[in-house]
């Protein structure tokens, strides 16, 4: 176990290095710089700005400087927002995405898991076909459709909920974005859970349990639940990393100050540090959550042995 962990962590360092290098290189290779404006500034002023952000140095030195700062956990200053560091932006944006993302995934696991299991138990009956039809809809309708529709119904027509914005601690600002973000995940989880449950219910150890005369409740909760969760766990890892780094569409539609939006405007405005910073963060989260998913796997499935 420890050996497994050490091996994975040892592999994570070069992976992160590759991610940081690629992101840095690609961004610097993109035409146009962060301080390009239609009006050209006098060269003296340009030099002054470039010196402030070390853009006057050769790219390899900028790269080494960046890696050095990164090793200390410093993502550098944002080029786009004067006097604001990328760390500050991430500190303010990440919690917003974390709250919305965790709630959406929690809803997805609870609702999707239950619906999928029930559908498997009632296979080929209306309790199966109805929810699965909705699930297909849920997966195929993108959030930039559901988001505005939710706003149209609940904010514009009914005036029940705000059409966007963000206030810490106020649940009514959460309901619409969490719902919009959760819907495709609910649908996806429901389908995966149903598939897994059908497979598990047909397996010999469940037949054995049933043959022993155990009630369905016990069969499902005690014997079937853990194997049904397995495919969901491997889905949850990357999904969590993805919602943490923000859903660009959800953030734009609801006007939330999350890091997905920072990433988008950062890319348009060539905010090198911000974009590389969020890319590196995303890479780190994916590695971390995949590792976590693997550990959960071992815990849930006695057949899995952790080896580096």
């Amino acid at each position: 176990m420890l050996k497994f962990l050490a091996g994975r962590l040892a592999l994570a360092v070069p992976t992160m290095l590759v991610i940081a290098t690629l992101a840095f290189g690609l961004l610097h290779a993109t035409p146009g710089g962060p301080f390009d404006t239609a009006k050209r500034m006098p060269p003296e002023i340009q030099r002054s700005i470039e010196a402030k952000y070390h853009l006057d140095e050769p790219v390899w030195r900028q790269y080494l400087r960046y890696l050095g700062d990164l090793a200390h956990g410093d993502f550098g200053p944002s080029f786009q927002y004067r006097n604001t560091s990328v760390n500050e932006l991430i500190r303010s944006g990440l919690p917003v995405d974390a709250v919305i993302g965790s709630l959406a995934l929690l809803a997805a696991m609870l609702v999707g898991g239950c619906v999928g299991t029930v559908a498997a138990l009632r296979r080929n009956r209306w309790l199966d076909h109805g929810p699965m039809f909705l699930a297909v809809l849920g997966i195929s309708i993108p959030v930039f459709v559901t988001g505005p529709l939710l706003i149209l119904v609940f904010a514009v027509q009914l005036h029940w909920l705000p059409s966007g914005d963000w206030r810490w601690g106020e649940i009514r600002y959460l309901l619409l974005p969490v719902t919009a973000l959760a819907l495709p995940y609910v649908a996806y989880v429901a389908r995966v859970a149903r598939g897994a449950a059908i497979e598990v219910f047909a397996s010999p150890f469940i037949l054995t349990a049933r043959a022993k005369g155990l009630p369905t409740r016990t069969v499902v909760l005690r014997h079937a639940l853990r194997p049904v969760l397995l495919p969901l766990v491997s889905f949850l890892g990357p999904a969590f990393a993805s919602v943490l780094t923000g859903s660009i569409v959800i953030e734009s539609v609801f006007g939330l100050p999350g890091i997905g939006k920072y990433f988008l405007t950062g890319a348009i405005n060539r905010d090198y540090t911000l974009v590389v910073g969020i890319t590196v963060l995303y890479g780190a989260l994916i590695i971390a959550f995949n590792l976590l998913a693997d550990l959960c796997y071992a815990w849930l499935d006695p057949r899995v042995r952790l080896q580096s």
Partner: protein, 557 residues
């Protein structure tokens, strides 16, 4: 400033699909299908008395990069700063110039020396008096290369400004001085009738030196903030909101009714949703393509008016095919059916442009003769010029027109190239590039034919005419005409405003005769405003300040 297709205003292509859809989805649920059962937006009843809560909720196009007036680069920042600081002059309710910190001023006979008398009651938000030294400090800071102010050229009319900004002169040599704490003197290179507009701009607003020297870059944070305008910053959440509160120490605070203003940086589409839900009272923009639909649904809440900007194309004058052929330039000009673009593609939102300069008070717009011709006559003349330039069906013009990526642009360029194909047989390929990529190509003078839209910095013809001045930085087509330059020089030296305009009018005529640019449409400001929000007027600079606004009692949102 203000290349109109400022990239921050638009979200990326990824969201464009979303944009198009929401338009569709809203339209489908709303007034899209005639006769459909339309759920109307709940009615709003407006009373006569003031609302108890005077909190304004305004949208801005995007998050300002900074609230430091010297470092400003984007239009949304300017809109917020208009509420936070006050220059020697300020903006009136109708966007005209009114006295600000300066109660009065005089100008010398040659138009080059201005003396401003400050009002002694003007205060900073920390109680300090606003003095002439605060202005001198701000202006020197603006042109000092060490500050890194991207738009330091805004001060170019002042003696010495450009020499300092380019590092050739000491900062103290700027042509401004303060004989006493309540007097500011400005010496200009040439008569500059629009100086009073420049003085209301953020670049020329005063700064509180002690605060900036104490906190450095951190001075713009709400906890350190000191300004002299009607409002002060209370809270800044990047990409969420900027909240400002009324400044009780503002010298004219009794006339300011809003107690608080929240600015929300939102893209065009999100603004529509927020407005319809009643969560904002003033939208800074809405998508061009939703104009008619919004009007059918919101009626008088949709507000549009002339805006000091032009959507035009310019040509590369450094090589073929345009450099040598005035006939070809004019042929492309004449073959455009601008009224169709205005009425059909833009649905009446933007007026057609036959010449460079939008309508301005006191200035006689110079339309080319063919602007009033019938379509047949104009097309025939366009075909004659096209043939004279050496092109025919067997040997058509084959070029591309470059424009910055944007959904609204695409409709227009698809229509334009179709008109050229139909009316002339010219094969012009519309080609869109991301704004910064296009900008880099323009600096290298690569594009042959390209969008060259422009929003004026101040309401004066010169802000547009300079685009074709030899050596001007944004003269991306490298247009150069000695006769034209001479007219601009004559205008610059002319102290009499009326005679100056006559020179500028001749310059505009010359552009038209040479076909230097291909004007397409004038810009329009477009807002959504709740019926209970009063105290605002549209103006050509689209600078609508919060200090005159107030909310009436109302039921419904």
């Amino acid at each position: 400033m203000k290349f109109p297709r400022c990239p921050r205003r638009f979200t990326a292509a990824a969201l464009r699909g979303a944009a198009a859809f929401v338009a569709g989805s809203l339209a489908a649920c709303g007034g899209g299908a005639p006769g459909a059962d339309v759920p109307a937006v709940p009615a709003i009843h407006v009373g006569a008395g003031l609302a108890a809560d005077q909190t304004l909720r305004r949208a801005i196009d995007s998050m300002p990069r900074t609230l430091d007036p010297s470092l400003l680069t984007d239009t949304p920042a300017q809109k917020v700063l208009d509420d936070l600081f006050e220059g020697l002059t300020a903006l009136g309710l109708d966007g005209s110039i009114v006295p600000g910190v300066a109660a009065s001023w005089e100008v010398s006979a040659d138009g080059k020396q201005w003396v401003f008398h400050l009002r002694p009651e003007a205060r900073w938000s920390n109680g300090d008096p606003v003095t002439s030294a605060d202005f001198i400090y701000a202006w020197r800071r603006e042109v000092d290369p060490k500050t890194g102010a991207e738009y330091a050229q805004a001060l170019a009319p002042i003696v010495g400004a450009m020499a300092i900004a380019t590092g050739h002169a000491p900062v103290a040599s700027l042509g401004v001085d303060a004989p006493d704490p309540l007097t500011v003197r400005i010496v200009l290179n040439s008569p500059t009738p629009y100086l009073l507009f420049l003085l209301a701009d953020s670049f020329m607003q005063p700064l509180h030196r002690a605060t900036i020297e104490r906190w450095g870059d951190d001075w713009t944070r709400p906890e350190h903030w000191v300004s002299n305008g009607p409002f002060v910053v209370k809270e800044v959440v990047i990409d969420d909101r900027i909240s400002v509160a009324k400044n009780p120490l503002y010298w004219d605070a009794t006339s300011v009714r809003p107690t608080r203003v929240d600015y929300f940086p939102l893209d065009t589409l999100t603004q529509v949703g927020r407005f319809m839900a009643g969560d904002i009272q003033f939208a800074s923009i809405f998508p061009n393509s939703q104009f008619q639909w919004l009007k059918s649904r919101l009626g008088a809440q949709v507000v549009t008016g002339p805006y000091l900007g032009i959507s035009q194309m310019a040509v590369n004058m450094q090589g073929p095919p345009f450099a040598m052929s005035r006939d070809l330039r004019l042929a492309l000009n004449l073959a455009l059916d601008r009224r169709i673009l205005a009425d059909k593609v833009r649905e009446g939102l933007q007026p057609p442009a036959f010449s460079l300069i939008p309508p301005l008070p006191g200035y006689r717009q110079q339309l080319p003769e063919w602007a009033s011709w019938s379509d047949e006559r104009r097309h025939a003349e366009a075909r004659r010029l096209y043939a004279a330039a050496g092109y025919s069906a067997a040997h058509p013009l084959r070029i591309q027109v470059d424009y910055p990526t944007n959904e609204d642009n695409r409709d227009v360029y698809d229509a334009i190239t179709a008109m050229w194909l139909t009316n002339l047989g010219a094969q012009v390929e519309p080609y869109n590039e991301e704004f910064r990529v296009l900008l880099q190509n323009l600096r290298l003078h690569k594009p042959v034919l390209f969008q060259d839209s422009w929003i004026g910095d101040y309401p004066d013809p010169f802000t547009f005419l300079q685009l074709f001045q030899t050596g001007f930085d944004q003269n991306f087509g490298a247009y150069s005409d000695p006769a034209y330059d001479a007219l601009l020089a004559a205008a610059a030296a002319e102290p009499d405003p009326a005679r100056r305009f006559r020179f500028l009018e001749q310059a505009e005529q010359r552009l038209n005769a040479e076909g230097a640019s291909i004007p397409v449409l004038y810009y329009a400001s477009r807002h959504l405003v709740k019926p209970y929000l009063k105290g605002w007027q549209l103006n050509i600079q689209d600078r609508i300040v919060s200090r005159y606004m107030y909310l009436l009692e109302h039921e419904g949102r």
